[in-house]
C-alpha cells in the first residue's frame, strides 16, 4: 500500500518500492518487501509495527545508513540510492539528523560539545540565535557543562534531540527515542519533538512501540512483515491501539 500519494514537492523523505534482503540462501531474511512511503515536510510521522517487522531497517534505508536491495530512496531533492561514500557523508551532514534509543552521546564530551559535534565534524559554526532557541526549548542551559554520565536518561535524550535539531536537517530520524525512558521523561522528549515540528517546521520520522508516543505524531504508518499495512492520520492512543489489535490477527493468520 502506498501512503499519501501526491504532494511530491512537499516530501522530505520518500521510499519507492524499497526491498531489503539480508543474507543469502538458507539464511536469507527479507526485511522490507516493496515499501513505498512519503514523509511530508513539517510533519511528525510515527512508524509502528511488531518487533522484527522492519521498522529500523526502513529507517536506516531512508537515512542512507544502509543500502537498499531494490527500489529508490530520496531525501528532499537528493536521491540517496546510488550515492557514493562522500555523497552519503554530505547527506548526513546537511540533510538528516539522528536520535537513537541509546548510545547517542560520546561519554567523554560535555552536553554542549555533544550538541555541537555534528557541526564541528562538518567544520561549521552554529547559528547563535538558533542555537539559543534550541537550548532553551530543550531546557538544558544549566546542564551544558555536564557529561552524559552526569545526566538522567531523559536529559541525555533531550541532548540528543538538541544535537539533531541544531544543524536544521531536512529530516530527523528517531529510532525509539523514548524506549528507555519512563512515561514522564518520555513525555518531555515527545513534547519537545512535537514542538519543534509545530513551531519550527522540522520534519521528524519516529519509530516507536508505544501507542501513547505514537499519539504525539500527526500520522502513524503501520508495518508488518516488511510491508506497510495501515496508516492513521491525527492518531490518538486509542485509535492506534485499536489498529494494532486489528492488525495482529490477520498478520498471524498470514504467517
Amino acid at each position: 500500500m502506498t501512503a499519501t500519494v501526491g504532494q511530491q514537492a512537499q516530501a522530505a523523505a520518500r521510499a519507492s518500492d524499497v526491498w531489503k534482503v539480508y543474507g543469502s540462501g538458507e539464511a536469507q531474511v527479507v526485511a522490507l518487501r516493496g515499501v513505498s512511503a512519503e514523509f511530508e515536510r513539517g510533519r511528525f510521522t510515527a512508524i509502528m509495527g511488531p518487533s522484527g517487522s522492519g521498522k529500523s531497517t526502513l529507517m536506516h534505508c531512508l537515512a542512507g545508513l544502509d543500502s537498499v536491495t531494490r527500489g529508490t530512496v530520496a531525501i528532499g531533492e537528493t536521491t540517496v540510492t546510488g550515492l557514493g561514500d562522500s555523497g552519503l557523508t554530505k547527506l548526513r551532514r546537511d540533510k538528516v539528523g539522528f536520535i537513537f534509543q541509546q548510545f547517542n552521546l560520546l561519554p567523554t564530551l560535555t552536553a554542549e560539545e555533544n550538541i555541537l559535534l555534528p557541526l564541528s565534524i562538518a567544520g561549521r559554526k552554529p547559528d547563535p540565535a538558533w542555537y539559543d532557541t534550541v537550548i532553551d526549548t530543550v531546557g538544558l542551559r544549566d546542564r551544558l557543562g555536564h557529561r552524559p554520565a552526569q545526566l538522567s536518561g531523559g536529559q541525555q535524550q533531550r541532548v540528543a534531540c538538541a544535537r539533531a535539531l541544531v544543524s536544521r536537517p531536512e529530516v530527523i530520524f528517531a529510532d525509539e527515542p523514548t524506549g528507555n525512558l519512563d512515561s514522564r521523561s518520555g513525555a518531555e522528549v515527545l513534547n519537545f519533538l512535537r514542538n519543534s515540528v509545530r513551531e519550527h517546521g522540522q520534519t521528524i520520522v519516529m519509530v516507536t512501540h508505544d501507542p501513547t508516543a505514537a499519539a504525539y505524531a500527526d500520522r502513524v504508518v503501520f508495518l508488518a512483515d516488511g510491508e506497510i499495512v495501515s496508516e492513521l492520520i491525527e492518531p490518538t492512543a486509542d485509535t492506534v491501539l485499536d489498529t494494532m489489535k486489528k492488525l495482529d490477527t490477520p498478520a498471524e493468520v498470514g504467517n
Binding site: D85, F98, L106, T108, L109, I121, R163
Partner: protein, 354 residues
C-alpha cells in the same frame, strides 16, 4: 572531531597506557634481541681493535704443533729475547717492544678472596709504559720485582688501593706484591671489554706468566714516520725468517676478533632465532592491541559516522589513537631502553667475552 578523539583518548588513560605497554613489550622483545646480538659483535671488534691500536706490526712465533680451532686455545710459542733485538735492527722500525701477555693472573682482593671473572681473561703482562691507550691514573710504574700495577676495573673489583700489599696467583703459588699504580684507558674506560690486567716488571712477568726467562709472547713493532705497516711487515718477516708469524696490527685485531666471533656464531644464531620469534610475538601483540582498541571504539566510531564524519575522519581518529599509543610507548620505552643500555655498559665488564 580532532578534539573529540583527543578527549576520548585522555578519558581512557588506563587503556592508553596499557596498550602502550603492550606495544612497548612487543618492541622490547624484538629490539632487545637485535641490540644484544649487535652489541656483542661490536664490542668484540672494539676490544681487539683497541688492544692492537698501538701496534703497527705484530710478531708471534709460529706454533711448533698446529692446533685446530676446535681444539681450543692455541698455546702461544714463546718469542726469544734475541728476536726483539733482530727486529730493532730492521730499517724502518722506530721501536720494538717485547710483550708478555697471558691469561691466568688472579688477584686476591682485600677480602682475601680471589677476584673471579665470568669469562673475560685475567691477563698477566709486563709493564711497557704509558701510551695513547694506556695511562696511569694513580701511582707509578712497577720498578722492583715485588711491585705491580693493575687496571682500574680490577682495582675496583678487588677493592684495593695504591700502597696495599696484594697477593697474585699465577703459574707459581700465591706471591705478595705491592700495588704501586692503577691504570686506565682512553675514553675514561676502566677496562677493555671487562678484561682484568695485572702488570709486572718484565723479568717477573716472564717468569710468572711464561715460566721461562728472556722470552716474550709477542713483539709489538712501531713503524718509523712515513713507513707503511704493510711494507714494514714484509721487511720484518724477511729478517726473522719462517719461524715467525708477522702481521699488521689491523690484521692481528681482525684475526683475533674473527676467531672469537666464529666461536660465538652459534650464540648469534640462537639469539637471532629468539629475535625471529620475538618479532612474530611482537607483531601479533601490537596487531591485537589495535584490533581491541578499534573494537572498543566501534560504537563511538559508528555514532560519529552517523552524524556526519567522513571515512577519512574516522581513519584519522584511529591513526591519531595509534600515534598517541606510540608516543606513550615511546616515552616509557625510552626510559627502559636507556636503562638497559646503561645496564649493558656496566654489565659488559663482566660479560663473557672469551
Amino acid at each position: 572531531m580532532f578534539r573529540a578523539t583527543l578527549k576520548s583518548l585522555l578519558a581512557r588513560k588506563v587503556r592508553l597506557i596499557l596498550s602502550g605497554l603492550a606495544v612497548v613489550l612487543g618492541v622490547m622483545f624484538v629490539s632487545g634481541a637485535f641490540v644484544l646480538t649487535d652489541t656483542l659483535g661490536r664490542s668484540f671488534d672494539a676490544v681487539f681493535a683497541d688492544g692492537y691500536s698501538e701496534v703497527d706490526v705484530d710478531v708471534q712465533a709460529k706454533p711448533k704443533v698446529a692446533v685446530g680451532e676446535a681444539q681450543g686455545e692455541q698455546v702461544p710459542t714463546p718469542v726469544p729475547a734475541g728476536a726483539v733485538e733482530r727486529v730493532r735492527q730492521v730499517s724502518g722500525v722506530a721501536g720494538a717492544t717485547g710483550l708478555v701477555n697471558a691469561d691466568g693472573a688472579r688477584l686476591v682482593g682485600s677480602n682475601g678472596k680471589v677476584v673471579t671473572s665470568f669469562g673475560p681473561p685475567q691477563l698477566g703482562e709486563n709493564w711497557v709504559g704509558e701510551s695513547d691507550l694506556v695511562k696511569l691514573r694513580q701511582g707509578r710504574e712497577p720498578r722492583a720485582d715485588d711491585e705491580i700495577v693493575v687496571n682500574q676495573a680490577l682495582a675496583d673489583a678487588a677493592k684495593v688501593k695504591v700502597g696495599d700489599r696484594v697477593g697474585v696467583l699465577t703459574l707459581e703459588p700465591k706471591k705478595e706484591f705491592t700495588l704501586v699504580g692503577v691504570f686506565g684507558y682512553s675514553g675514561d674506560r676502566t677496562s677493555i671489554g671487562g678484561v682484568n690486567e695485572v702488570a709486572f716488571t718484565t723479568p717477573v712477568a716472564q717468569r710468572l706468566m711464561l715460566g721461562a726467562p728472556n722470552t716474550f709472547t709477542s713483539i709489538s713493532v712501531k713503524a718509523a714516520d712515513g713507513v707503511r705497516a704493510e711494507t714494514l711487515r714484509d721487511d720484518v718477516g724477511r729478517a726473522l725468517g719462517g719461524d715467525y708469524q708477522v702481521r699488521t696490527g689491523e690484521q692481528a685485531a681482525a684475526d683475533a676478533a674473527a676467531s672469537l666471533k666464529e666461536g660465538l656464531s652459534f650464540f648469534n644464531k640462537i639469539l637471532l632465532g629468539f629475535a625471529g620469534v620475538a618479532l612474530l610475538v611482537g607483531t601479533f601483540l601490537i596487531l591485537n592491541t589495535f584490533s581491541i582498541i578499534v573494537a572498543q571504539r566501534t560504537r563511538e566510531l559508528a555514532l560519529m559516522r552517523a552524524i556526519g564524519a567522513s571515512g577519512r575522519q574516522i581513519i584519522g581518529s584511529v591513526v591519531l589513537e595509534a600515534i598517541a599509543v606510540g608516543l606513550v610507548a615511546r616515552s616509557s620505552g625510552w626510559g627502559r631502553a636507556s636503562a638497559s643500555a646503561r645496564c649493558w655498559r656496566s654489565c659488559s665488564a663482566s660479560w663473557p667475552v672469551g
